[in-house]
């Protein structure tokens, strides 16, 4: 194991984060605050409570998940796509670094960044609404699992993408709708019955439900189902990454 290489990639990617601190941290925090203002204060004042918690409080876990999902995907996809685009990937390919080590460095950095971001948003939310995390262990577990899974997913997109449009298209067309429809802003129970069934095909529902449960013990689906779907998606991403490694897909000529 070339642990120095993993470290070098990790630190290099993290350095990129610090350099672009404004867009990497400030903008998600700002947009989350806007969500609070719009959904929490404006709309929330008309919705009294959902399953015993105020609307503003209810949406916090969903908002954090929303940011973690989109940020993990965009960080990780950009992290590996950019060297491909600029040509600096030659160095990674010519270095004594296994594909696994590269994934560890890139995905590790992207996931770390999302986790830090999630915690920052949590702290921001604290300023707006009273919060109580009933199961901190599960909260962190879901946070880390989601960040790692979607960073892997982003890595795959970054490897697959042949241009900037393709890099954007999956987050825009798949991730964003799934998260918006994934119960960030409402409980699945509030949907008409038919749509509740449809919603259960959305994996994000399970992530948000599990995450929200760790806060308030409110969930749309059981904790086991949430954990199972999350781990299942993680397994699919890992298998895909392994397949990319086996075939050298789109990284080498």
């Amino acid at each position: 194991m070339n642990h120095r290489a993993v470290r070098a990639i990790y630190l290099f990617e993290m350095a990129r984060t610090w350099r672009t601190l404004l867009q990497s941290v400030v903008s998600p925090v700002l947009s989350t605050s806007l969500y609070f203002v719009v959904f929490g204060a404006a709309i929330g004042s008309r919705i009294t409570q959902i399953e015993g918690v105020s609307y503003g409080t209810f949406i916090v876990p969903g908002l954090i998940m929303l940011s973690i999902l989109t940020q993990s995907v965009s960080n990780a996809s950009f992290g590996i796509y950019f060297p491909k685009f600029s040509g600096t990937i030659y160095e990674l390919l010519s270095a004594p670094v296994s594909f696994f080590e590269a994934v560890l460095g890139y995905v590790g950095a992207a996931a770390s960044k999302s986790i830090i971001l999630g915690l920052i948003i949590l702290a921001t939310a604290w300023l707006f609404v009273p919060l109580h995390v009933m199961h901190p262990f599960w909260m962190l577990t879901f946070l880390v699992l989601t960040a790692v899974t979607f960073s892997l997913f982003g890595f795959i997109i970054g490897v697959w993408a042949g241009n900037f449009e393709q890099l954007q298209v999956i987050p825009l067309l798949v991730i964003a709708p799934l998260t918006f429809l994934g119960g960030s802003f409402y409980s699945i129970n509030m949907l008409p019955e038919a749509w509740q069934t449809v919603a259960l095909f959305n994996p994000v529902v399970y992530l948000i439900s599990g995450f929200r449960w760790s806060f308030y013990e409110i969930s749309d689906v059981s904790l086991g189902a949430s954990l199972g779907i999350t781990l299942g998606f993680l397994a699919i991403c890992m298998a895909t990454v392994w397949w990319i490694f086996k075939t050298g897909y789109r990284l080498k000529n």
Binding site: R4, R7, A8, R19, S86, T88, E91, P96, K252, N253
Partner: protein, 306 residues
């Protein structure tokens, strides 16, 4: 000693169906400077990319110091530093950060003193804290060389290292390359500046249309293919070459004011003495003479045209 790089029956067909390399076999000797010459699109970069692990071969094998560069890629790649032809650098990192990163990537323990030496040797020390985007093209090229040297490779690939580098710095780079060779590093370089190969290389390989058409010690190559010419500046002009000189390989030029004799410099008898005697007999007098030897460039051009 076994060769440090042994390439056997390497072929490469790109996805487009283009055959960039066709059954290339080549050995690189330990500690030599090997210049790979060939016209645009000959397959030089493709060959280097496969050896370094950037492209997959379609067929054939590469051994780097006995390590298969695919099966045992860690051992193989650890030995190699690569300066690619295209300027692919980070933009917002500093010179110091990007060079240190390369060292880490190759699994080497951090060694600031060594990196300082590399940067100083390449006249980059005073720019170490500059972001790469603020450097000139020639400086970026040197940053790429510094990155390749950062992990103390035993083999260095330089794919057109001096393209876009000014004359003085080019000489400086040659010095760096020579100093590296003196420490035992094997160097493989490609260049379109033939005089660079002539100046630097121990051995020369010529590749054309994906095939190695010649590999030779530079000195032997120059001698073997080197034609010499004796140019006689005549007093007055000659209409035609007199029949008694027909046995000599002569040509008239400059409107009959010059007589050019082409001969083989490595031959036992060059025939110069005889020619001069014959000239005197024919009453042709000259006021000056000089000899020229064909350069590597002439040799190269004639090879690739053939």
């Amino acid at each position: 000693m076994p060769p440090i790089i042994s390439i056997s029956h390497l072929s490469k067909t790109y996805g487009s169906g283009l055959k960039a390399l066709n059954d290339v076999s080549l050995d690189i000797d330990r500690g030599e400077i090997f210049a790979l010459l060939g016209p645009n699109g000959a397959g030089k970069t493709t060959l280097i990319s496969i050896i370094c692990g950037i492209a997959n071969p379609s067929a054939g094998q590469v051994l780097v110091d006995g390590h298969d560069n695919v099966a045992d890629y860690r051992a193989a790649r650890s030995m190699i530093g690569l300066v690619p032809q295209e300027l692919h650098t980070d933009a917002f990192e500093t010179v110091w950060a990007t060079v240190s990163y390369s060292r880490g990537l190759f699994g080497k323990k951090a060694n600031p003193a060594y990196i300082e030496k590399v940067l100083r040797d390449l006249s980059l020390w005073d720019r170490k804290d500059s972001r790469i985007i603020t450097l000139s093209g020639g400086m970026k090229r040197r940053v790429m060389i510094a990155k390749a040297l950062s992990h103390e490779p035993q083999i260095l690939f330089l794919d057109e290292p001096t393209a876009g580098v000014d004359v003085e710095l080019r000489k400086g780079m040659w010095e760096v390359v020579r100093a590296l060779r003196a420490t035992g590093v094997t160097i493989i370089l490609t260049t379109h500046y033939i005089e660079e190969a002539e100046e630097m290389a121990d051995r020369i390989g010529v590749i054309n249309k994906g095939e190695i058409i010649l590999v030779e010690q530079k000195a032997a190559l120059m001698q073997k293919l080197g034609k010499k010419q004796l140019k006689l500046h005549l007093l007055g002009t000659v209409e035609a070459i007199p029949p008694q000189l027909a046995d000599y390989n002569l040509a008239l030029s400059e409107g009959g004011s010059q007589l050019i004799y082409t001969y083989d410099s490595k031959a036992e008898r060059t025939g110069i003495t005889g020619l001069l005697a014959a000239l005197r007999e024919a009453g042709i007098r000259f006021h000056d003479l000089d000899t020229t030897q064909s350069s590597l460039e002439d040799i190269f051009v004639s090879l690739v045209r053939a």
